[in-house]
């Protein structure tokens, strides 16, 4: 089968698996009934024991849903008009679940890669993100029944013959990192090996939109993408085509932490939704208006520009808070480095060495994902980013500061001492102000670097400038346009900062 954009709208053949096909251990409805029954008995017991109010269930009042809202039409940010809502097929289902089970739904947006760690660290209660229950995943997390059966497609440039799995052998093919499509390509390669055909060269990217750009740039020959998504992109880019791969057993299910008690009640509601036609209605709503772009390129972005610009505040706040905390920390470290007490020096030097010797993006990920597991605090992305940045920047600035302090004439120290000035005052009033003046250009540079590096927090889902630009890109099936807008905004901010510091420098030069 081969589809061109616009030709594929036959939703009527939508494919829902028969109900008893449960993700975990292929449970039968019988087992489900029994476990539900047991659950009810346990709940009743609990209520009796603690005489909790009669409406108490085992569903908490608030549930957090993890998702990666860059996967239109399943979950994406609707940013037109400056306000930001996460919407889509999965979100509608989640809302219905929250109504039926009586919990308040909170959506947590993050990178697809972070979803399973988030479940394992109990950061979220469940995940709806077009996630396929593969055997590997089932080892670490639980799944509901499949609520949507997905088909993989090969997306490639028009007029080449990459329409079947066999045609991909020996080619370079992309898939989203950590997705079932990535697994699918690996499976294809096992098949290729059996048939003694050349293997597919697998390339992964974080987002589908990046895969599309790689095809357009001829860096990869094709990509494996879920069909509704492929439909959207081929609608925007007429030079692309997609072909459904028939023998695929994909499907989407809700993911839970291992052993979650939510699986049974969620499955019950999904069954009802399937029976009363709700799922079909949602599918019609989200999948049928695909492939009708409103204008081209930047024109499409215009309604979302206020939303992107809203990220300036986040980026600036983030940079400012990180810079201030990082600086305070740097002062402490620098003082330790010049202390008489040797262990202080060793500690501060070891610290600096570690934080300068490891990538910042790794430090961010560690703080974000390890904090909940180590201290049990569910740290928000913004805070995790600020902490990681402050710890990192502190290491760099402490070195600059130490050099700046040592560069202050030692006569200053003697003059202060010989007037009976205590150490702390001497540092804050005499030495540090002079050291700061010496290193001001270096500090300004650090500030500019922080501002630019702040884009790294988008990897843990903080809604900064870059994150918002990519979100809009996913919504509109565009890649460059929102990024160019973000680039311009970053550049303007960096220029303003540069000008500001040179004015400040001149003024300080005049004062002494």
């Amino acid at each position: 089968m081969r589809f061109r954009s616009g030709q594929f709208g036959l939703f009527s053949v939508k494919r829902f698996v028969p109900l008893p096909r449960f993700a975990r251990l292929g449970r039968s409805p019988w087992k489900l009934a029994i476990s539900t029954f047991l659950l009810i008995i346990m709940t009743v017991n609990l209520i009796a024991q603690f005489s909790v109010s009669s409406v108490a269930q085992d569903i908490p009042k608030v549930l957090q849903m993890g998702t990666s809202a860059d996967y239109k039409p399943f979950e994406f940010h609707d940013t037109s008009g400056g306000e930001d809502k996460i919407v889509g097929f999965d979100v509608d289902i989640a809302r219905r679940l929250s109504e039926d089970l009586g919990f308040k739904l909170e959506i947590v947006d993050m990178d697809f890669n972070g979803l399973i760690p988030a479940l394992q660290s109990q950061r979220v209660d469940f995940v709806m993100a077009g996630m396929t229950p593969t055997p590997e995943r089932k080892r670490n997390i639980d799944f509901s029944q499949i609520y949507y059966e997905a088909k993989n497609t090969i997306i490639a440039k028009q007029n080449n013959s990459l329409t079947t799995i066999a045609s991909l052998y020996g080619k370079t093919v992309g898939a989203q990192l950590g997705s079932t499509q990535e697994e699918a390509v690996k499976t294809m390669n096992q098949e290729a090996a059996k048939q003694k055909k050349p293997a597919i060269n697998l390339v992964t990217r974080n987002r589908v939109s990046e895969l599309i750009q790689e095809i357009k740039a001829n860096r990869i020959d094709a990509a494996i993408v879920e069909d509704t998504v492929a439909q959207g992109y081929t609608g925007v880019y007429p030079d692309l085509q997609f072909s459904v791969i028939e023998n695929n057993e994909g499907g989407y299910a809700i993911a839970f932490p291992k052993g979650s008690t939510l699986v049974a009640p969620f499955n019950k509601v999904l069954a009802t939704m399937k029976k009363d036609g709700t799922l079909e209605r949602f599918a019609k709503k989200w999948f049928e208006d695909q492939g009708k772009p409103a204008g081209i390129g930047f024109q499409q972005i215009i309604p979302s520009i206020p939303y992107i610009l809203g990220g300036i505040g986040v980026t600036l706040a983030f940079t400012l808070v990180s810079a201030i905390l990082g600086f305070i920390w740097a002062v402490v470290l620098a003082l330790m480095k010049i202390a008489e007490f040797k262990p202080f020096r060793w500690l501060a030097n070891a610290y600096t060495s570690v934080f300068r010797g490891t990538p910042l993006i790794l430090q961010i990920a560690l703080v974000y994902f390890a904090t909940p597991q180590l201290v049990g605090y569910d740290i928000p992305a913004f805070q995790a980013g600020v902490i990681a940045f402050a710890l990192n920047s502190g290491a760099y600035v402490s070195e600059t500061l130490r050099a700046g302090i040592l560069a202050v004439d030692k006569g200053q120290r003697e003059a202060a001492l010989s007037l009976g000035v205590p150490y702390r005052l001497m540092m804050t009033d005499i030495i540090l102000p002079q050291a700061l003046k010496n290193i001001l250009p270096a500090l300004a540079n650090e500030g500019i670097n922080l501002l630019k590096d702040s884009a790294l927090v988008s990897t843990i889902g903080a809604a900064d400038l870059l994150r918002r630009a990519t979100v809009v890109g996913a919504e509109k099936y565009l890649y460059f346009e929102p990024l160019i807008i973000a680039a311009i905004v970053y550049y303007v901010m960096v220029m303003l900062l540069t000008m500001g510091t040179s004015v400040l420098e001149k003024r300080l030069q005049r004062s002494a």
């Binding site: 004439d409 006569g411 200053q412 003697e414 003059a415 202060a416 001492l417 010989s418 007037l419 009976g420 000035v421 205590p422 005052l425 009033d429 005499i430 102000p433 002079q434 003046k437 004062s511 002494a512």
Partner: protein, 240 residues
Amino acid sequence: MLKVNNLYKSFGVLQVLDGITTQLQQGEVVAVLGPSGSGKSTFLRCLNLLEQPTSGQIYFKDVEITAPKCDILKIRENIVMVFQHFNLFPHMTVLQNVTYAPIKVKRLSKDHAEAIGMDLLRKVGLVEKADVYPSRLSGGQKQRVAIARALAMQPEMVLFDEPTSALDPEMVKEVLEVMRDLANSGMTMAIVTHEMGFAREVANRILFLNEGKLAEDTTPQQFFTNPQCDRAKQFLDKML
């Protein structure tokens, strides 16, 4: 007022002060002379504990300031020092330089400290420079501010380490003038200097250091007309 007993100081293997014992009376002005490297600066810096003596004792008004439990900061408030290179705080105005320590260390009110500061600036002839930054001053002006800054602590004793050595010759006089006035006001002073005329005129006593030893401890009259040791004779021959 100040008693030094058997003072030793070494930097690693280098013996710089080699058993110095002497006394200073209240209001006395002592000139410390000696060849370069003889330990004059080190001796002076030991007196307000900028250098920690290796052994020996220093008593200030019968309190042993070399004792471990002694509050060094409190002593330094009373024994202030003026340096060869002025060491003014470049990020503060002249008046701020003068009032900083009285406000922050002695906890005087700002008004009180500024009244004292302006009075001192008048005495050293720099009232009109009160709001100027040190980078705008000549060397002689800087050193006069540094003296005002030291005096603003209302100390009981002032140490001078070659206060005119970094100055152009035409500026030496204005600084010596200020120091002479200070000596005449009865301040206790210890001065390391190469200005032989000044030492002879203003000092009550001469301490001559040679290789870390106190080679002569005598009156200016005696020292300049009839030095006892050969080293002092050679030194004077070179200087005069």
